[in-house]
């Protein structure tokens, strides 16, 4: 069963990443685990809650280093979120860590009521998100989480594209003491060009261009960047915007990119319903921007499985797939 990480997914894409001088980082989960450990060492009120997920959350070292700052609730996601809200209400800075598929579906009412509505500052951490679990199948995929959580008031929603974005989001979420959802995958990720946004909610320009804008989030951004590189060989100059924060959304950067380029492809590891694609479509329509528009996400049917890399390629979330979509859009 292939569930392992595949940074750029094909030998050609790997070679392209090397040509661009991109350094291969590590999985965002590991970046998260180290960042939260550093935060917790500096502040004993930083607490992690897990649902039999400390191993998959890369939190075993945290548990060994700070056993009094980790709470295990067993395989019980509803209780995980409720307990996290209670801890947060008593002054703790809480990271509630569980596979995104279970956290954001089974415990959705706890997220809505106990965290967002009641305004207790829990940072919900969805691990192995999207199709990271690959061939484990749809029970383990989270392709609904952006849609479900974006519709809940008082909850920030974010998915980092590289280690720098992950570090920045974790630190910002701890400092903000506001309800937030952060989504991490399992694959090792390339460090993207350009600094990760320091201000939460900002998009990150990864590549300049005026012919077409790739607007992407999380683990799809690298593929948009490699597609842009491939398209440049044929003379098409594409802009790439990494959007780590789905809510709040950097409206200015997205509208500006669409206005400047006139063609937009949104890439995300999520259903085409209710995620970044529809958020951008609504935003551009409201702003009166008429752009050619394509959503590269997971279509609304029984999800084809394989590894994350297989699934991405199958649905065109790849260097070659996104490049083909761009050419088609520009015909």
């Amino acid at each position: 069963m292939s569930t392992g990480p595949a940074p750029a997914h094909t030998p050609e894409a790997e070679a392209a990443a090397r040509r661009l001088g991109l350094r291969l980082g590590r999985p965002n989960l590991e970046e998260f685990a180290d960042t939260v450990l550093a935060l917790a060492r500096a502040d004993r009120n930083v607490v992690v809650v897990t649902s039999d997920s400390r191993g998959s959350g890369k939190l075993t070292p945290f548990g060994q280093a700070l056993p009094r700052q980790i709470v295990e609730v067993g395989i019980a996601e509803q209780n995980l979120v409720g307990v996290a809200a209670g801890l947060a209400a008593a002054g703790k800075t809480v990271f509630a860590v569980s596979p995104a598929c279970f956290l954001t579906a089974r415990a959705l009412e706890q997220i809505k009521n106990d965290v967002a509505y009641a305004d207790h500052p829990v940072v919900l951490v969805g691990i192995s998100a999207g199709v990271s679990y690959g061939a484990l199948g749809s029970t383990h995929h989270s392709l609904h989480d952006f849609a479900a959580l974006r519709a809940i008031h008082n909850l920030a929603v974010a998915a980092p594209a590289d280690n720098a974005e992950a570090r920045s989001l974790v630190r910002a979420a701890a400092a903000a003491r506001r309800p937030a959802y952060l989504r991490f995958g399992k694959a090792a990720l390339y460090d993207l060009p350009g600094a990760a946004p320091e201000e939460p909610g900002r998009a990150r320009p990864v590549r300049e261009g005026g012919d077409l804008a790739f607007i992407a989030t999380g683990e799809t951004v690298i593929h948009a960047l490699l597609a842009a590189d491939l398209l440049a060989e044929g003379g098409m100059q594409c802009r790439v915007l990494s959007v780590p924060s789905l809510k709040p959304l950097d409206r200015t950067a997205i509208v500006e990119a669409a206005r400047a380029c006139g063609s937009v492809i949104v890439a995300e590891e999520h259903s085409v319903h209710g995620g970044l694609g529809e958020a951008c479509a609504a935003l551009l329509a409201e702003a009166g921007v008429a752009a050619r528009f394509h959503q590269a996400g997971i279509p609304d049917h029984y999800t084809w499985t394989g590894s994350q890399a297989d699934i991405f390629r199958h649905y065109g979330i790849s260097r070659e797939g996104l490049a083909a979509a761009a050419r088609h859009l520009k015909r």
């Binding site: 009094r68 067993g74 209780n79 409720g82 209670g86 801890l87 008593a90 706890q110």
Partner: protein, 284 residues
């Protein structure tokens, strides 16, 4: 640690409960909606908690060392609003805004209302939240206690049992659950909708200390709630109550789950409560 106020005797609590019942019926009648039966079944429990047990006041509500009360059976919010108003958390007149457009006094507890610890209303949420508060108290070496009021019908929500496992696993003696066991829910008898008994044995099997009490007896409730039931385990007080308690035609009648009295019923209910009050006064 905020001090507890001087304890009123049973006769004083009885007078208070009659006043609370009258006021919550007025509020429900004025609002044109509310959970009449469940508010009447739990109001004696709230009376004992807020007037004898909890170390919390409007002044100490922001202090980290306060005792916490979480009303998981959030629909009985009218009883809680009335008791909080009496304890000075907000002016009594604000109850007249219950259910009005734009008011924070909605049909379930929210933290927009002073004195409320947690937003509840979806059932099966309060106990996990209480476990989190109790764990935080343990981490901080604080001596506050956490109380969670549950409904008996609410216990069909599986999340309660996740929380029950967790509280016992961590030996949270600073956590006390109270079940307002009024034996009725919206569809009918709890035993017919989804059987719970033997409830005390279930909690004991989960690792809790359990005690049964008459949920309308101030002495029994005080004895069960004044101290943790067990120094090493969470405690649950199964309070046997009567839904609609205090108004003869509302007592143990499922129809009064969220029925609003007609003008005639309202007048009869107030007359009954006033007669009970006069009887209490006559007894001195």
């Amino acid at each position: 640690m905020p001090p507890r106020r001087s304890e009123p005797d049973d006769a004083a609590l009885a007078r208070l409960s009659l006043r609370y019942r009258r006021r919550l019926l007025e509020a429900i009648k004025h609002a044109g909606g509310g959970h009449t039966g469940g508010s009447l079944s739990c109001v004696d429990i709230l009376n004992v908690l807020y007037n004898r047990v909890l170390r919390v006041s409007p002044e100490s509500f922001a202090s980290a060392g306060r005792d916490r009360y979480i009303q998981s059976k959030g629909h009985s919010v009218e009883a809680l609003f009335v008791v909080l108003a009496d304890r000075g958390f907000f002016p009594d007149a604000e109850l007249d805004t219950l259910g009005r457009a734009g008011s924070h006094f909605v049909g379930h507890p929210t933290r927009k209302v002073p004195g409320i610890e947690h937003n509840t209303g979806g059932l099966g949420h309060g106990l996990s939240f209480g476990v989190g508060q109790a764990l935080a108290g343990r981490m901080d070496g604080a001596d506050y206690r956490v109380f969670v009021l549950l409904g008996d019908g609410e216990l069909a929500e599986g999340s309660n049992w996740e929380a029950a496992l967790c509280a016992a696993h961590y030996g949270l003696s600073n956590l006390t659950a109270i079940v307002d066991c009024n034996s009725l829910q919206i569809t009918g008898r709890t035993k017919d909708v989804m059987g719970l008994e033997p409830l005390a044995e279930k909690f004991r099997a989960f690792g809790w200390s359990a005690r049964e009490a008459d949920g309308h007896d101030f002495g029994e409730l005080t004895a069960a709630l004044a101290q943790p039931l067990d120094p090493a385990r969470p405690g649950v007080v199964i309070a046997r109550t009567i839904k609609g308690r205090g108004v003869s035609f509302m007592e143990d009648a499922g129809a009064w789950h969220h029925r609003v009295p007609t003008d005639a019923e309202f007048a009869r209910a107030l007359a009954e409560l006033d007669a009970a009050r006069a009887q209490l006064e006559a007894r001195g």
